[in-house]
């Protein structure tokens, strides 16, 4: 049965011929608008992963610039937040986190560095897994280093609400997306003309959440899923809204997303977390962009429980470096990597300063490796 379901999904949302048709529609819409560039931003790491995995960028019209916004929760985790995890691991405490968090650099060290020094750093797939590790080993402390947007924050909240053992706690680096989109939208210099919003976060928050933003900033927002056809269909809709100068919200992922979202999940999330302001790596201080644990959950809040003091890792030199990073401008489509004084100089994939160099799909990382967006269409066809 699961196999048949898998086949159905492949047929429905992974049909190269249908993709070809959507691609042609995209080209004709962009031709209608007849100016370049038309700049759209997606705000989701999974969108970028799918765009990259299926090579969709190679099929986009040249006049269409689809840029990666602050959408990868791991990449925007700021160095001092990573330092907190490193500090815990160096105290001999078990730190469990998602695999892609391991190599994200702190001020001086990553969790992978802490692991190679002998720190007990574990890769897990869910918060629930850490709870069972903690139950099996009650004499040891287990901290879940929690990253991700609304979707994963709900999963963390669910675990905290189901009576975890006392040797389990959470270090929350969860982020909340809507305020970051607002920061981009209200930047007067921003060239972003439309947002492709993340389908899975919207299953929780509902697409209604975006309506005031679309109205306030006069910018269209399309909620899209993650299969190649979902993304292409979402972009077609978004370009149509840009052409029609129609700043509204369109739900291109109706099989999962509703206007009001998942209310019980939202209640769980807000029962455990509250927003607080904080820096997103290389971007800006995002008001209400971080999700931190409410005082009622203090006994499971690793920051309180272990009185983490990661300030020992901070240094003037590193702070100065961060000040020169123009990731925010690159993500807003205002600058490109060669405009940055740090690029290839003090910032590279082994020692990234900003989020754009951390992610394998980050703009700076791609420029570093390939010298810009490569044109692959002609190779082997002559």
């Amino acid at each position: 049965m699961p196999d048949r379901l898998g086949e159905a999904r492949e047929v429905k949302f992974r049909d190269p011929e249908l993709a070809g048709e959507l691609g042609r529609t995209l080209v004709s819409l962009v031709d209608d608008i007849d100016r370049a560039p038309i700049t759209l931003m997606h705000v989701c790491g999974s969108h970028e992963q799918a765009i990259a995995k299926y090579g969709l960028r190679a099929t986009f019209p040249k006049a269409l610039d689809v840029i990666m916004g602050p959408g990868c929760p791991v990449c925007v985790t700021d160095a001092p937040e990573v330092d907190e995890g490193v500090w815990l691991a160096r105290q001999g405490i078990n730190v469990a986190t998602f695999g892609d968090m391991l190599r994200v650099p702190g001020t001086r060290h990553s969790l992978a560095d802490a692991q190679s020094e002998g720190g007990k750093v574990h890769v897990v797939y869910s918060a629930a897994q850490v709870v069972s590790m903690a139950r099996k080993d009650p004499s040891q402390e287990y901290v879940f280093y929690a990253t991700g947007f609304e979707t994963t924050a709900v999963a963390t909240a669910a675990v905290l609400l189901s009576d975890p053992p006392p040797n389990f706690s959470v270090l929350s680096a969860h982020k909340y997306v809507p305020p970051a989109m607002e920061v981009v939208a209200q930047n007067p210099a921003s060239r972003v003309e439309g947002f492709l919003a993340a389908g899975h976060a919207a299953t929780i928050t509902g697409y209604g959440l975006f309506e005031p933003m679309a109205e306030k900033y006069g910018i269209p927002i399309v909620v899209a899923g993650f299969e190649p056809l979902d993304i292409l269909a979402g972009l077609v809709e978004l370009v149509r809204l840009v052409r029609d100068k129609s700043p509204r919200v369109f739900n291109a992922y109706p099989r999962c997303v509703s206007r009001e979202g998942n209310q019980p999940a939202l209640r769980m999330m807000w029962q455990v977390f509250q927003t607080s302001s904080g820096v997103w790596r290389g971007i800006a201080d995002i008001p209400d962009g971080n999700l931190r644990m409410r005082p009622e959950f203090e006994c499971f809040d690793a920051r309180k429980k272990f009185s983490i003091d990661a300030s020992v890792y901070a240094s003037e030199a590193d702070l100065a470096l961060v000040k020169d990073c123009i990731c925010g401008g690159i993500m807003s489509g205002l600058a490109s990597p060669p405009d940055c004084t740090l690029f290839r100089n003090r910032c590279d994939p082994q020692h990234p300063v900003g989020a754009c160099m951390v992610s394998s799909e980050g703009t700076c990382k791609i420029w570093y490796e390939y010298g810009g967006r490569p044109d692959l269409s002609e190779a082997g066809r002559t």
Binding site: K53, G55, Q115, S116, V123, P374, L376, E378
Partner: protein, 341 residues
């Protein structure tokens, strides 16, 4: 190197490992006079001229968690790995292996016997034998379970390099990609996978490669076994060493339903993880059909497929045509990590 320490990525078979070898281990050796294929070639093994034939020499140390995994164990892996490195250089005749075991105090003797039995079985399949060995036992906690090193020698009439591609050559894989790496990861994390049983492909390729070489009759120009780093890493190395581009078509690359499901579940590309019973073969276009037929006639090669071409554009790069569009297929550095975003 961060903090001047060895990290896990330095053993992952990717860029970091090559940098470590070039900047630390190969220093002073790469330039020493040597009549044959030596360390500087960074190939699967070395080749020394003996009369009108070549003696190929290779060595490999094996560590794996768990020691017994779906589809094989460390014993089968340690024989297959070395036989395959020899086969990739065209050396399939007169295989003799050495075996050094480093064992942790307390290791169950019964498990050691199972491992030894697997080694015998794998040697039989390859037409190889173990001719000498070494045993060390270390204290509890000083080593994790067991480490097995095997070295091997075998003869080749002409060594096949991994650098021999020319524009117009075809690329063949001998079967489904990613099975070993994903099976081990799934076992390690107790993942339940839809789409059938996920087994490691670990096997010695010697007899299949012998048949392919004979069918190719001199037209096989490059071979690699896509172990750590997977197909992406092997193709990347073949492209950059030969100074050609490579275009491969994703829809022609065999991937089992179970490996595809596991890959999607943990966010890891089956083209970037290890195989232990597969080869990537570069062959002159006119002989591709004959080589493919010979591979498919062998039980280990029934899923073999032509997956792409060597091209003049973008030398050193591997382009993946997905059917939707195109992207560069880049090797991951170090062990690929499961991702959430």
């Amino acid at each position: 190197m961060t903090g001047q320490r060895v990290e896990m990525r330095h053993g992952g078979g990717g860029r970091s490992m090559r940098t470590l070898i070039e900047e630390v281990f190969a220093r002073g050796f790469a330039d020493m006079p040597f009549d044959g294929i030596g360390l500087g070639a960074m190939d699967d093994g070395a080749a020394i001229r003996v009369g009108d034939r070549w003696l190929v020499l290779t060595t490999d140390s094996h560590v794996i968690h768990p020691v017994f995994f779906p589809g094989g164990d460390i014993g089968r892996l340690s024989v297959s790995g070395t036989c395959n490195d020899l086969a990739m250089m065209g050396a399939t005749e007169g295989i003799a292996l050495t075996c050094a075991m480093i064992i942790e105090e307390g290791f169950p003797l019964g498990e050691l016997e199972r491992i030894q039995h697997s080694m015998v079985e794998a040697c039989r399949e390859a037409g190889a034998t173990i001719v000498t060995g070494d045993t060390k036992v270390m204290g509890r906690g000083e080593i994790d379970g067991i480490v097995i090193n095997t070295s091997g020698i075998a003869f080749a009439s002409a060594p096949i390099r991994d650098s021999g591609l020319r524009v117009g050559d075809k690329l063949i894989v001998t079967g489904t990609m990613g099975d070993h790496g994903l099976a081990v990861m799934a076992a390690r994390h107790n993942l339940e996978i839809d789409g059938g049983e996920l087994l490691s492909d670990v096997a010695p390729l010697t007899t299949m490669i012998r048949a392919a070489l004979s069918a190719g009759n001199g037209s096989i120009v490059a071979m690699k076994d896509p172990t750590r780093g997977g197909l992406a890493s092997s193709l990347g190395e073949m492209a950059s060493k030969a100074g050609v581009g490579i275009v491969v078509y994703e829809r022609t690359i065999p991937v089992s339903a179970a490996a595809r499901a596991a890959g999607e579940m943990i966010g890891i590309d089956p083209l970037q993880v290890a195989n232990e019973g597969k080869a990537v073969i570069g062959v002159r276009a006119e002989a591709a059909g004959a080589v493919l037929a010979a591979l498919r006639a062998h039980p280990l090669g029934k899923d073999a497929a032509i997956i792409g071409d060597a091209v003049a554009e973008r030398p050193g790069s591997v382009i993946l045509d997905t059917g939707y569009g195109r992207r560069l297929l880049v090797e991951s550095d170090g062990e690929p990590l499961p991702r959430i975003c």
